[in-house]
Symmetry: C2
Subunit: 667 residues, 2 copies
């Protein structure tokens, strides 16, 4: 024991908190307060009422004002706001997401898409929750493809009003929090039509209900009813039949209509305008990413604690073996612990970039591009990983893990939707993939490759070009320096080379396949051939985007190592290696097929992972202790030591029987 | 279109129903009856009451009597009973599992572990539900390791009674359906102690509650409360404080105690006796396996129907593209369709084996061994696949998939526990793995290898030797004939060789590693070294067991092809190839490392899968239609054609606007 390194848990904890520790601790203080916590077994109606009440309590606790302007009583603290929000997953994800709807979507849309007058007029009531609102973007007919929504806002110059209309069932706004019951207004996304021209999607402030709950004329609402999770939120549908709103209710930061109906915008290209407006909504993805990491921390804190106490099947000493001493159990949980750390550090980088952009401290095009790409790359991986980790923890804790009182299933139910809302994970990764391709093609002057860029642009619309990939460009510039004969697989340089080589090669392979697929096509056939070639490469492109995200996570973890020293650095380096080699092991077939690893070296990866897992086992509890998840935050009976108590009681009984000579012999 | 083959859906449907079509249709008729269906949004209390009532309705419908003796009004139809049961997943999994507790566990234990007098005394009331009961095997301290449970049944010869006792908290019976509210008796598993000797685990009939709901003296019950799913079942805990029952309440088929306290059994070895008693409970695994396959069928019928109608993002023709035409979407769903077919056919084989054994038609040791192994191999893979498929379907249908009215999340919540109850999946696979090892070692006379068998036996207890693996033995006999230079990867012989080679090689590798790990160990060290080596190999052994199960599924699918001809055979062969090559692709790194496939051939696997997926896309709807899941069984709004209707309405609106010249031009 004495020679085993031990981590400095406080130092690691600080790294886990990241830059906004204060706000995180404030968020955790709320989450530790029973008033903010889920009451298991409540009906949907009770849960909805409770969550509404909790939102009022958040206002009282001054917990939601941070992101708003100081002039309105806020703090202009964007990073801190999201950090605090991310901790609310420990209280109740329904409360978290409903507050996200109210302040992160409805309020943020007014803030970021509206202008001064809108801020003065509505934000105080939004902030105080006097004005609960919905964010009416998604339609039942168009989810991921926001640009194609069917709702129209047609300008009537005579009346100086917009007419909001959902002309068919597919245009109904759907799955909106606050729409079924509590919303009194909505930010409605609609095609702005004036003087017979459609200027694309814009956002409008539309009152929908009286404070007493009566729907306003021309507006209908339906309740989505019970969902797979998040049942504390009143999701519902909204439809509009020629509903008139004043011209000034257009949130006009990026596009405006003069009283006479003349449209104007300082962003000339409609595609770029659309992506700029949508880009302000990146906050949702950033928020979910960190919330997902928090759920992973919770899951592992529970499962590893239980696995350290629970015993099953007699070992060689006659006593039952501790679960975490089983090779399979270690293999199930410890790589996920490494992944959780990697995702935590990547999440911090994302949040810092977000804060730089939104605070204006470093609001450059380059940084905005990084933010877009990072969020589209990281949110899919962390939200999926959260579901997988919660499930693995559930299974690793057996029947106990299935009990609501042990938290795992509740989180899993609620977080299920995180993988498809605020951007469907596959669609987001595809976006990253297309940007990787665009950037790749831009490296070459060759006409054939430039043609690839055209095909891609055809698939993604005009906005594509705007979002370059600075970091990727950098990686691609390094192409060619990947050594094919590296000596080991353990050193970080090799890990990085293997991971980045894979991204680059996959992108290049997809680009070449697209080029082959469209080569020699006539002008008329070009679009169809391009679409066909793209569909054939789609799965690979998404895989390339995933590889890119994994590289970013690995780099974030590696960068974080700079903050550690001594034993802590040793253990954290093992953990980083476990993450890196785990990625390589996961994609071993790729490295083998593409000649990056020999069979022997591939096997060396697996055996080194086995050794790392064995070493880290001794630190598993320290590494989850460093999450500093108090009993009030975890609230899982099996993480309270109850299992160890039961084991001791049973052992004491047997010992006493043996001592008394009353223990029956076995047949 | 004319030259495209089409499957004969009726023929395929019959293959999907299998041998007990009649009973499956009877089960489906019940599931289509609203009285048996889940009411979304009910509270736990309401749901529990409803499910109890449903159980009474099942009795009335004569739906549960099949498995019981004809002398008691049953039909001695074991296969048909399980087949009908498996269809109830379409009604409500809570009802399904609660009926499984009452008749498949509580009743079946009396039937299979008890003798004539017990049958006469209790089964009529069990069958009529006059006597609801719990199956009290699992303890909070011992789940998977049933042999080590703490509850004791100590014989008092004076009173001719057994004293049932849970001496510490860890011995409390836990997670038992019917324990919290409705059970009036329980079959309690306890260590049978008489004349100072512990004869191992036996089952006892113990009354626990009055019909009015009062707990009997010395018996306590606690409610498990809300769970991650199956909330229509009253799971709970039971504890016993020196509760006395008559000697004759011992279910004495495999072991008995005479009035004077003398123990007797016709099975001499306590280990073998234990495994024989536990072996009668295989029915639960068989039942869950087919229920899981049914849930997969439901999930894919919903997601593929929706994916065939739903459109998103404009294609080259200007119209939005149908989801199922996207390469990634096909890759997500179609391999799962192939897997569902494979698992369905494997499930049929398992059920037939079960029926042969339980009907007595072919109750040989060999067949019992096959049954044990098959169920331990197949249940883990199908229950895991069900969760994955439900989740993929949920994500593929986006926000709609998250709505309770579309069924997917409800099934996923309920089926979550299927992967750890009736045998934790990893523990079951480990059992299969150990049997593979035992069988492997038995092939050799070599002392070193025989030593491996000893190590294994040490890890698994005396029962191990009993359960050989006939099929595996056969496979192992073929070892060596695997060609390393096969020409293609498409022909079934190659698929089979690749799949079986992997099982055999992995087992041999684990065996050799265990041998190395214990070589030269002193007698005292042997156990510790063996445990250490075993833990290091555990993950690989479980993977070998999984490979074995995959091979069995592949073989079942291939055997099923014999029933098809013409176009149907063509398409079903593609589907089998997709399954087989999908397995090989999943384990590509293994084939590459072990020199079974070159890089080029490995890539050929993937490109052939891509082609297969493209071909099968045209048959996806036919292949899910063949499940014959009527709207009453699916009850998912998005599988009713509502999406296509919305699309048509939207298109008609746009067309009319364009025709009228009122469609605004785009900026």
């Amino acid at each position: 024991m004495s020679s085993t390194p031990r981590i400095d848990k406080t130092v690691v904890a600080d790294a886990i908190y990241g830059k906004w520790k204060k706000e995180r601790l404030e968020g955790r203080k709320l989450a530790a307060d029973p008033r903010f916590q889920t009451v298991v077994g409540q009906s949907m109606d009770e849960h909805r009422e409770r969550v509404l009440e909790q939102l009022h309590l958040l206002v009282e606790a001054n917990a939601i004002q941070r992101a708003f302007p100081t002039s309105l009583g806020g703090a202009d603290n964007h990073g801190g706001n999201v950090a605090g929000f991310q901790e609310l997953v420990f209280a109740d994800p329904s409360m978290q997401i409903k507050s996200g709807v109210q302040w992160g979507l409805f309020g943020a849309a007014i803030l970021h898409l509206g202008t001064e007058q809108h801020h003065q007029q509505w934000l105080p009531d939004v902030m105080s929750l006097k004005l609960p609102g919905a964010f009416a973007m998604t339609e039942i007919g168009h989810g991921s493809d926001v640009a194609a929504i069917g709702t129209t806002a047609t300008y009537d110059a005579q009346a100086e009003e917009f007419v909001i209309h959902t002309p068919f069932r597919g245009a109904w706004k759907e799955f909106l929090g606050n729409a079924a019951l509590h919303g009194q207004a909505a930010v409605v996304f609609a095609q702005l039509i004036t003087q017979g021209v459609n200027h694309g999607v814009h956002a409008f402030f539309v009152p929908i209900r009286t404070p007493g709950g009566q729907m306003l004329d021309g507006i209908g609402s339906e309740d989505d009813g019970v969902k797979g999770g998040l049942n504390g939120i009143d999701n519902g549908r909204l439809h509009f039949t020629n509903v008139r709103i004043p011209r000034t209710n257009l949130l006009n930061r990026y596009g405006d209509v003069a009283p006479d109906g003349t449209y104007s915008s300082h962003i000339e290209s409609p595609g770029r305008r659309f992506f700029t407006m949508i880009g302000t909504l990146v906050q949702g993805r950033v928020s979910l990413d960190g919330a997902a990491v928090n759920a992973m921390k919770g899951a592992l804190a529970i499962a590893i604690r239980y696995g350290s106490e629970r015993r099953q099947f007699a070992g060689p000493d006659g006593r039952d073996t501790v679960l975490l001493d089983y090779g399979q159990y270690q293999r199930r949980l410890l790589p996920r612990l490494a992944e959780t750390y990697a995702m935590q550090f990547a999440s911090h980088k994302l949040l810092e970039t977000f804060d730089e952009v939104f605070s204006g401290a470093n609001d450059t095009d380059e940084n905005r591009e990084d933010l877009e790409t990072l969020s589209a790359a990281l949110k899919p991986l962390s939200t999926w990983a959260a579901l997988d980790t919660l499930q693995e923890a559930r299974e690793a804790t057996g029947g106990a893990g299935f009990m609501a009182k042990n938290r795992l299933t509740g989180w899993r139910h609620d977080l299920d939707i995180y993988v498809t809302f605020e951007g469907d994970n596959n669609v987001l990764l595809q976006l990253v993939g297309k940007r990787l391709l665009t950037e790749y093609a831009a490296q070459f002057k060759d006409g054939d490759v430039a043609a690839v860029a055209k095909v891609i642009a055809g698939q993604i619309g005009e906005g594509a070009a705007r979002f370059g990939l600075r970091q990727m460009g950098q990686s691609i510039a390094d192409l060619g320096r990947v050594s094919r004969s590296v000596d080991g697989v353990r050193d970080p340089e090799t890990q990085q080379e293997l991971l980045s080589d894979r991204v680059e090669t996959m992108v290049a392979q997809v680009a070449m396949a697209l080029r082959e697929g469209t080569k020699g096509a006539s002008k008329e056939d070009r679009a169809a051939k391009g679409a066909e070639a793209f569909s054939a490469q789609q799965a690979k492109l998404i895989e390339a985007a995933r590889a890119h995200a994994e590289l970013l996570q690995w780099e974030a973890f590696t960068e974080a190592l700079e903050d550690f020293e001594g034993d802590t650095l040793t253990v954290m380096t093992w953990l980083r290696d476990l993450f890196g080699l785990g990625l390589i092991e996961k994609h071993l077939e790729w490295y083998l097929i593409n000649g990056r690893l020999s069979g022997a070296r591939a096997e060396a990866v697996t055996s080194y992972i086995d050794r790392l897992v064995g070493r880290i086992r001794e630190h598993a509890l320290d590494l989850t202790d460093a999450f500093e998840l108090t009993p009030e935050l975890l609230r899982a009976e099996i993480a309270t030591g109850i299992e160890a108590e039961r084991q001791q009681e049973a052992q004491a009984y047997v010992d006493a029987q043996i001592a008394a000579g009353t223990w029956p012999v076995h047949e």
